[in-house]
Subunit: 158 residues, 4 copies
């Protein structure tokens, strides 16, 4: 999908996010409570924890797109994390519910960039934004191509 | 509440658990997906993770009983973990949903014992069972008494 | 090794621990700083973290006994955690160094019980004590026997 | 410090890193074993774990510069994580020792950027590189200025 059509798509679907980023998939939301163990002595969620939440958003995205982990395994596709970027805007705290908003920012034959927006589930205050770049690899950790039909399923339609 | 009436209560409500333990509260269930980050190189959920899940079961129990964390803080009651016991029956794996079944096994003026049964949410296979003993403390970490009305709210009625 | 000789051994080596437990191996110590991420909003180390530290004590014990993980793998021996018991005496805090004291409490053909004492590395204050029971399994997760020569190497001599 | 003098300094000390980054402090190294609990079902260290290691490198850096955490607290200076960027080059595995190389890339009145290079402690293979941007805040989470004398102690001389 071209960058242009992605921009066009996001204009209709997700205005707020669209102002900042391109998007080649639906935005899916995953909501859960902050766990006590996720906090640190500053009284807030530890900054490493958002990386785990982003991964959970991605897992949920894949499940809802119909890709269970055992299917990836059977198809001999794994995804190695290549880059990670986070911006911290406000802290999450124990007792709050957070929503991870997950979408695909770019999808190429051998890599996917997911973008995230983590917000307070109730106030919708923005807490953390970020991206993760994944490289498709086989069991021998060699870079491989994501099959066309998988690329289609991951991309925009819903 | 006497041990006898607790046993009587659980006979009606929760037969399987009743065979093994007494119970002075309802059993509340909390269900979620296993996170990728919770696994280890054996391909299963790391054994320390169940301790976090038990705590999340306890948090959910408290929330549904109407006790938000900030209320505990305002009332100057905290709970210090005093003992932890787990038995591992079968491993949880990524891709599965687990259910943490949480109830109070004993409730005394200064301590609570929670009992847990963690099962596969779909097959109901038993994965881990355990208990945690909590001591009520104030902000200065001094042992204190759990107010009568709190004890009543935590106990059996639902 | 008989229970008696274990007791005799520990009398010379480790008086404090000897008062409570039998011991069929040397006690090895592993010391490290508390990590910031290991704390929670109570300002202390989260209670699940001691389980990870006990495992790290066990890893270090095995390494110093000459058993690298790849050797276990090559010998098709894994260890599944079967039981976990912890008693919390005092909290560890960020900025402190802790020492995990690890020894084998019982060693049978198919299972090992490790006992731990986690202390403040400087004051030697006791923080947490506990045990973990491990079952020897092969790659198919079937219970198997720990080879005689391995049992000998793990046991008492140093 | 100008980029040029930083490069000059690091040429003598740390050639590989010098090619990519400026540096306004010494590079300090912190070495430890990978923990079993830090791995995931891919058999490698989970990508969120490097964030914790970077923080541990930073803690060690601060300790060796003479700043204990309670001194920061007493001085009413905290550091809020503002940005995090990681590049993953090769995975760490259980059984390996890793070295976190930590230095200050930029130091301004209200923020510090730490840069990290995480390498295999034995082969020196590069595993992960990254930066974290910290904002100096007081107890009320208001941005504040890092005292001049602290800035001097953190910066280049050793």
């Amino acid at each position: 999908m071209s960058k242009q059509s992605a921009v066009s798509n996001q204009q209709h679907l997700h205005r707020a996010a669209a102002q900042r980023t391109v998007q080649v998939s639906a935005i899916l939301e995953t909501t859960f409570y902050v766990r006590f163990a996720e906090t640190d002595l500053m009284g807030i969620v530890h900054h490493s924890q958002y990386v785990v939440w982003m991964e959970e958003g991605r897992s949920d995205f894949m499940r809802r797109k119909g890709f269970a982990f055992d299917q990836w395994e059977a198809a001999n596709i794994g995804f190695a994390v290549s880059e990670l970027n986070l911006r911290y805007h406000a802290p999450a705290r124990y007792g709050e519910r957070v929503t991870v908003r997950t979408w695909i920012e770019s999808l190429r034959s051998r890599q996917i960039v997911f973008r995230y927006e983590i917000v307070n589930a109730d106030s919708r205050q923005e807490l953390v934004t970020g991206t993760v770049k994944l490289i498709a690899v086989d069991r021998q950790n060699q870079v491989r191509t994501i099959p066309q039909e998988v690329q289609k399923l991951l991309a925009v339609s819903g």
